[in-house]
């Protein structure tokens, strides 16, 4: 065989292998998704609901009409950004689950920036908000990264605890120093002003956060898979000690990845303020950061895969209302579906490299 291998052939075989590898990355999660749908179908059948009708209703609620699509994409937008908060540090083998805290800090800093610039042109205010939001979110997660690298504190625990600190800080500020005295029964900050709000993508109801999310995910993908920085991060993620031995600045990698992840979630917080709420209050902590963790794990921490997975979960969220209304299922059934999907995707990890069809064949 060795005689037969020319350059061209080797190239073709490598291409075939890469395609097979990519196909493996699509087929296995899809199989997991189908398995989850069958399991959930059995679950709802026990509650005397026709699974086929259920999926027809879900499809209609999530993707069946133009309105449904907009509903799905609006819900997906913040999830892309909060998922990056888990997916980027994951390249280094870190499990960060504090996206909610970075989102809250980002939203808070963005609001403070807007309120500090009364009368400035809207574009300047929006840029300042984005910068403030990303910096605050980035520093928040970099704190967890720093604690891990320099003090040996488990980053999963510290990032989770930082969520509670961020929410406590939010409540303290909106109920105290930053409170608008006119917000009697719903303590909130003053409004950032209608002129400073970022609107919707023309012709749709979807705010610009979706575009920012997609750009951030694509940039993150290039950073991870097409730059030496990303390569170094993945090496360190594979074996931290080996990376140190070969002279990689692991500490800097940890801080930078954590900062970038936190900045993505912080940007999500800024968008929640500038596109949805218009002021900061307790509603900023609505669990978007938590759902982002689920998205990142389902996407296997691939920044590009985060986009379709966020759309899928946005769709499940969008259709969740319709299955409550049409089929009388409780809201918790959507949680059950999400849980089953999560479990199936995690379990499907065992299939990688086990299916012969996807195994490398050539050179």
């Amino acid at each position: 065989m060795a005689i037969a291998i020319g350059d061209k052939l080797a190239g073709r075989a490598a291409l075939g292998d890469r395609l097979r590898q990519a196909a493996e990355g699509v087929v296995i999660p899809t199989l997991a998704l189908i398995a989850a749908m069958i399991l959930f179908g059995i679950f709802v059948a026990v509650s005397r609901v026709d699974p086929l009708e259920l999926y027809a209703v879900m499809y209609r609620g999530a993707f069946g009409t133009w309105f449904s699509w907009q509903n799905t994409l609006t819900r997906a937008a913040p999830l892309i950004l909060t998922a990056l908060c888990t997916a980027l540090p994951a390249q280094l083998g870190m499990v960060i689950i504090g996206g909610e805290g970075a989102l809250v800090m980002g939203g808070l800093a963005a609001t403070a920036a807007a309120l500090a610039l009364p009368g400035a042109p809207p574009l300047a205010v929006q840029l300042a908000m984005a910068l403030a939001g990303m910096t605050a979110g980035g520093l928040w997660i970099a704190l967890a990264g720093g604690l891990r690298h320099y003090r040996g504190v488990n980053e999963t625990i510290s990032s989770l605890l930082l969520v509670y600190i961020a929410i406590a800080l939010l409540n303290h500020l909106v109920e105290g120093p930053m409170r608008d005295p006119a917000s009697l029964n719903k303590p909130s900050t003053r409004a950032i002003g209608a002129a400073n709000m970022i609107g919707s993508i023309p012709g749709t109801d979807i705010h610009w956060g979706l575009v920012f999310g997609i750009i951030a995910a694509v940039l993150a993908y290039f950073l991870v898979y097409r730059t030496t920085f990303g390569f170094a991060a993945r090496i360190a993620g594979g074996n931290m000690r080996a990376a140190k031995v070969v002279g990689l600045a692991v500490g800097r990698l940890v801080l930078a990845m954590c900062f970038l992840g936190g900045a993505a979630a912080g940007l999500a917080g800024m968008i929640e303020i500038a596109a949805v709420h218009g002021r900061a209050n307790g509603n900023l902590a609505a669990g978007l950061g938590t759902t982002g963790i689920l998205v990142a794990f389902l996407a296997r921490h691939n920044p590009l895969a985060v986009i379709p997975v966020a759309v899928l979960l946005g769709g499940i969220g969008a259709s969740g209302g319709l299955i409550q209304r049409r089929l009388g299922l409780p809201d918790a059934s959507v949680m059950v579906l999400q849980g089953i999907i999560f479990l199936m995707v995690l379990a499907s990890d065992a299939l990688y490299g086990r299916i012969r069809f996807f195994a490398p064949r050539g050179g």
């Binding site: 069946g64 009409t65 309105f67 719903k186 669990g287 209304r325």
Partner: protein, 373 residues
């Protein structure tokens, strides 16, 4: 149905059917799902069986369902974010809803305002009393002066307490909550002028663990009647019953959770209001954009007395109820000092039910142990 139905062939057929259904559905946007009926949408911030705020609204929705020609659609656990905007639009676009009840306080600004401006043909009835003249005319608010019912419950609590210490587990020190704490205490003081109400704020509307901790700590300090103002009073009611003290409820009737310990409670009466609004809407009669009331107007009510309520307590509470039902009785009247000794209502002054001064309440009356900040 049996599991055996999900054979491979059925699954394949089903997949095709989903595709076909989706394609057809996609071609017919906005097709109302329930032809002929008036579709009314209810949106809850928590679960509709929380024995509290959301259940009170769900009971109102259930009463509205019985009106002929009405189809009710409901969605629970909808957060106060753009998710509620999408839920409202989904009810309008996919279910054909023309009357919506987004029941949580935080839904109003900016979410209800935004969708109301966008869909002028749909009527939005929001619970909370936030509507002002500059808001869209198809939006409206209603609310109940539930402090009147708390005042009556406080009278019962004051007569029942032996230690002279009442407990109050509250979410946040905002005007609505402070007004309830104060009314409860003022009611109790009619039975025993020296009685105190100890308050613990948990910081948020639904924190069962903190609510249980707060209730336990109050009971440890000698409180023997407890109440609360949180979204789901279940935790406080059950903790009280387990620890062997008495409790008064809030939002809706929790007597099933603690048949012996439940004295009475301050309840919303949405079962009375929603069918009324539904009928007015169907008849084309205008519903006021700003609609409020108390016991007399039937927006709030007092739970039936439990077995532990004595004769004197019943009589005093019934008398107070009669005075409130007659109208003109002011719970908040001077001279009244707060718990720091500051005069808050001057002698000879009285603030009636609808007085806007009460909407800005930022103090705890004398006899309340606790602080607003």
């Amino acid at each position: 149905m049996a599991f055996t139905r999900i054979s491979r062939r059925h699954l394949l057929q089903g997949t095709a059917a989903i595709g076909a259904a989706g394609a057809i559905a996609g071609l017919l946007p906005g097709r109302p799902a329930f032809a002929g009926d008036v579709v009314v949408g209810f949106i809850y911030v928590g679960s509709r069986d929380d024995y509290g705020y959301n259940q009170a609204h769900a009971q109102g929705a259930a009463a509205l369902k019985k009106v002929p020609g009405v189809k009710v659609v409901e969605e629970e656990n909808v957060p106060e974010t753009d998710a509620v905007e999408k839920t409202m639009e989904s009810m309008i676009n996919l279910d054909g809803a023309t009357l919506l009840f987004p029941t949580s306080f935080g839904y109003y600004n900016p979410h209800v305002l935004k969708i109301a401006a966008k869909d002028p043909k749909v009527r939005f009835e929001h619970c909370g009393g936030l509507w002002t003249e500059k808001d869209p005319k198809n939006a409206a608010s209603y609310f109940g002066y539930i402090d009147e019912a708390q005042y009556v419950a406080g009278i019962v609590a004051g007569h029942t307490s032996k230690t002279g210490k009442l407990g109050f587990v509250a979410a946040k020190p905002i005007p609505q909550v402070l007004r309830n704490i104060n009314a409860y205490t003022l009611g109790a003081q009619t039975a025993n002028p020296k009685i105190t109400t100890q308050v613990i704020f948990t910081g948020d509307w639904s924190m069962p663990v903190k609510e249980a901790e707060a209730a336990n700590s109050l009971i440890d300090q000698g409180v023997d009647v407890i109440t609360c103002h949180v979204d789901g009073p279940k935790t406080v009611v059950e903790t009280a019953a387990r620890r062997g003290i008495m409790v008064t409820g809030y939002h809706c009737d929790q007597s099933v959770l603690a048949p012996k310990a439940y004295l009475t409670g301050a309840e919303w009466n949405w079962e009375g209001l929603y069918p009324k609004f539904g009928k007015m809407f169907m008849a084309g009669e205008p519903i006021p954009n700003f609609y409020r009331g108390g016991l007399k107007e039937g927006l709030v009510k007092v739970s039936a007395y439990g077995p532990a309520v004595g004769e004197a307590a019943r009589k005093a509470a019934d008398d107070a109820k009669a005075k409130l039902m007659a109208g003109g009785f002011a719970i908040f009247k001077g001279p009244m000092t707060d718990n720091k000794g500051k005069m808050v209502i001057a002698s000879g002054q009285a603030h009636g039910q609808t007085d806007p001064v009460l909407e800005r309440m930022d103090y705890l009356v004398e006899g309340v142990v606790g602080s607003t900040s």
